[in-house]
Symmetry: C2
Subunit: 125 residues, 2 copies
């Protein structure tokens, strides 16, 4: 059984979780090709909606995600990748997790983490 790619018009969300800490790192989208390549290589591949192309996560930064476990939800329209994050950071802004901001009681977004890397340094190489 494959994920139900038709439901999302060819794309479904992949939740990415750190396999060791359980932390949610990011959400990205996969099409059938990204799914097949992820399974074949053990490295997370996604479909970039902004660039309109298949994307090996870490191809620019080196921060590859080694997929340790794949789960699927009850409706087969979302997958969960439990990964080992190379370089310690999933976010292109340099944070370990893309969810580095928390809503405080006053309704403001508060950054709760330190950057692991400087994006300008990593992506200008």
């Amino acid at each position: 059984m494959k994920p139900d790619f038709e439901k999302g018009g060819g794309l479904i969300p992949a939740i990415v979780q750190d396999a060791a800490s359980g932390r949610v790192l990011m959400l990205a989208y996969i099409n059938e090709e990204a799914w097949e390549r992820t399974l074949a290589t053990g490295k997370a591949h996604y479909w970039s909606r902004s660039r309109g192309k298949l994307w090996l996560k870490g191809e620019s930064s080196g921060h590859v995600q080694l997929v340790r476990e794949v789960r699927i939800d009850c409706d087969a329209d979302t997958v969960l990748f439990r990964v080992e994050q190379q370089g310690g950071a999933a976010c292109h802004k340099g944070y370990a997790s893309c969810f580095f901001r928390r809503l405080d009681n006053g309704g403001a977004w508060v950054t709760t983490e330190e950057r692991v890397f400087d994006p300008e340094e990593v992506y200008s190489k």
Copy 2:
């Protein structure tokens, strides 16, 4: 700053994680109204794509999600709800998590959990 609802045509994904265990429970979609009601009530509200209506999670089952923390990703187009799951089960099929199936090495989906409740009993009330 609000989530970028326009990017997803009015709907963005919400990842739902158990606040205590760190387990990923489900993924659902929110529109602006679901977002506002979730913040106002502290109980997770979603937009049901299949039913085309706002949905208080647990309205049928009693399995409400008390939202303990809200996070947003770098692009502001995905949110993370860290919740206290009432009734111990997020999935309408009776499992604690919707991600109750793992892909095994042979490419088959294996159910790795026991049901917490019997859906026929809970939803026929």
